[in-house]
């Protein structure tokens, strides 16, 4: 048997990864430029470029710079965050059904955030109370779901994972409802925010979520080789010298951080974290070194277009984007269940 030319296989793989990443990045920039011009008021393309570079009149500046641009950037950030968190959770749970929404983690984050809204707790500065409470409860929920569904040997069966997600999600949803019931003036704030939308997008939201999402995604990307090893099996990872418990904790923390950042600024937007990494995995394979960055870009592109749809489909009003992603994502989820029934032993 001839020796396989590992070097050239490797080189070809890196070239393919580079090309895919560049194409996705270009796709994101293009999507953002195009969607900047979609809305009630449209203007020539060169005017938009002009406004972005600091020109244009006051009216044009107000539409582009104060309304559409922060919203599009926020949509990209939220989509990127949910997709990256989904990819990382699917890896750590070794389970393609995992995502922040399905596991009830978004519900936990929502509870933390509404607790901050209702009680008006504020520390550091009032602005950080909501995201930091969202992060705290996000992480606690993730740990809870993980410890409930984990079996001997670190394997997380799909059934217990989904059931744990349902149970924990229901619990936190009930707590949120309880809070709505007792909330006074803050009720409309919670209700509005829970529906999952980006219509109140401000530059401040970008400023809050951007550092959390950049930090969390960077950590997850740096852990991608470890995620690969853990996906083969926990025991295998241990034999390859990986500190599995430590690595898993860091990954869960980072995934909570990005999920919380998204939930804090956009409420609960479901299924992005499930659908995007799945489609990306079909495209680039299971290796997290490429799966994480391409999921990030893919999630951003997906969300930019979904939110554009949400704000234009019933002009002059708009839909919460969470409704649209759920309408698209839920059937996809059903498709996944059906295509995996046999594999999971649910059908003989």
């Amino acid at each position: 048997m001839d020796a396989v030319d590992v070097a050239s296989l490797q080189k070809r793989k890196l070239a393919r990864w580079g090309a895919i990443t560049a194409a996705m990045a270009a796709g994101l920039v293009l999507s953002m430029l195009i969607t900047l011009n979609i809305g009630a008021v449209s203007m020539p393309f060169d005017t938009i470029i002009d406004v972005l570079l600091g020109g244009g009149n006051k009216f044009q500046r107000s539409i582009i710079m104060d309304t559409r641009l922060p919203r599009i950037i926020l949509a990209a950030l939220v989509g990127a965050a949910l997709a990256v968190a989904g990819a990382a959770m699917q890896g750590v749970f070794r389970n393609p059904m995992a995502s922040p929404y399905v596991l009830g983690i978004s519900a936990g984050a929502a509870f933390g955030a509404s607790l901050a809204i209702v009680t008006g707790i504020s520390w550091l500065s009032g602005q950080l109370a909501v995201p930091s409470m969202a992060f705290l409860f996000c992480f606690l929920t993730l740990l809870l779901v993980y410890s409930i569904s984990r079996t001997k040997g670190g394997f997380v069966p799909v059934e217990t994972l989904l059931l744990a997600g349902i149970a924990v999600g229901a619990f936190f949803n009930a707590l949120v409802s309880l809070m709505k019931y007792f909330a006074g003036e803050e009720l409309s704030a919670i209700v509005f925010w829970m529906m999952g939308g980006l219509w109140q997008a401000r530059w401040e939201d970008v400023a809050i979520s951007l550092p959390m999402i950049v930090l969390g995604s960077a950590i997850l990307w740096l852990m991608s080789r470890d995620l690969n090893t853990m996906m083969v099996g926990e025991e295998h990872a241990l034999h390859l010298g990986l500190n599995v418990n430590g690595v898993r904790l860091i990954i869960l923390l980072a995934a909570s951080l990005v999920t919380a950042a998204a939930v804090a600024v956009s409420g609960i937007i479901g299924f992005v974290g499930l659908v995007v990494p799945h489609v990306v995995r079909l495209l680039v394979g299971p290796d997290h070194r490429i799966l994480i960055p391409v999921s990030l870009l893919g999630g951003a592109i997906f969300m930019v277009w979904m939110d554009t749809l949400a704000r234009t489909i019933i002009l002059p009003a708009e839909l919460p984007v969470g409704i649209i992603t759920a309408l698209l994502g839920a059937p996809f989820f059903v498709y996944l269940i059906i295509s995996r029934r046999r594999k999971m032993g649910w059908v003989k």
């Binding site: 396989v4 590992v6 090893t229 025991e235 295998h236 034999h239 010298g241 394979g285 299971p286």
Partner: protein, 264 residues
């Protein structure tokens, strides 16, 4: 390369699974850890590279207590082929073998030319080169096992541990895998430790046998010294005899019959 296991004990909850196991082994040998199900073989194996930390006792690798080493450092000296590799996610054979280089790589480091060379060699030695870009979930049991062996080889270990390497394999693949392992032990001057409950394969391929029962060593030494009629009756409740088989040029075990439990 010398491995010295010194009085290892391990318990799950409060039940002793391995108690007071000591032995020594050196490079170029194939050592079989043999015993029935539940005799603590796999637990002992996991204690050898500190995937499980023994409650008592320790292991010296080339004279150095392995508690002074990090997991990563141990993984550079000891490669393991665990029982089964199932993944929902379709990594290719090359991806899997490349993971064998992880213990040598820093977090931010990319595989170097020399790493690729080592991986390529490991795949050549295990006859898996042709499988390089095939997804693991499309390979047969024997092919998957060879890929995992290639990954362990890519760690460039001085010691290789294999846990029931022939379980779930067809007979032709069992022989193929063990021929490969014994060739590697000679050519690469490795110490190979195989956990198995298969008496014939142990007799045929191992230089030394460690016979275990209920977490303790019953007997240890050369194949013919350990696999006596009395020992096999005591540990496996069978009437069996070891003999030299000219056709294979080594020892074999003939199982004559079972001994009813409690009559031993």
């Amino acid at each position: 390369m010398k491995l010295s296991v010194q009085g290892i004990s391990f318990c799950y909850r409060s039940e002793d699974v391995v108690s007071g196991v000591s032995f020594e082994a050196a490079e170029g040998q194939i050592v079989g850890i043999l015993g029935p199900n539940g005799s603590g073989k796999t637990t002992l194996l996991k204690c050898l590279n500190r995937v499980l930390s023994p409650k008592e006792g320790t292991v010296l690798i080339e004279g150095v207590d392995y508690r002074q080493r990090t997991r990563k450092e141990i993984a550079r000296q000891i490669g393991v082929v665990p029982q089964s590799a199932n993944s929902n996610f379709p990594f290719t054979a090359l991806d899997i073998v490349m993971m064998g280089r992880n213990p040598e790589l820093e977090r931010f480091e990319r595989e170097k030319e020399s790493d690729l060379q080592i991986v390529s060699n490991a795949m050549r030695m295990t006859n898996t080169s042709a499988l390089a870009d095939r997804p693991m979930d499309q390979l047969s049991g024997g092919e998957r096992q060879r890929v995992i062996i290639a990954r362990a080889l890519a760690q460039r270990p001085k010691i290789m541990l294999l846990d029931e390497p022939t379980l779930h394999l067809d007979v032709n693949h069992q022989i193929e895998i063990l021929d490969l392992i014994s060739r590697l032990a000679r050519e690469e001057r490795m110490l190979v430790i195989i956990v198995t409950h298969d008496l014939s394969l142990a007799a045929r391929y191992c230089d030394r046998i460690i016979l275990m029962r209920k977490g303790r060593i019953v007997s240890a030494g050369d194949v013919t010294q350990v696999l006596t009629r009395e020992n096999m009756a005591k540990v496996f409740s069978i009437d069996a005899a070891i003999y030299y088989d000219e056709r294979i040029g080594t020892h074999n075990v003939a199982v004559i019959g079972a001994i009813k439990e409690g009559k031993e």
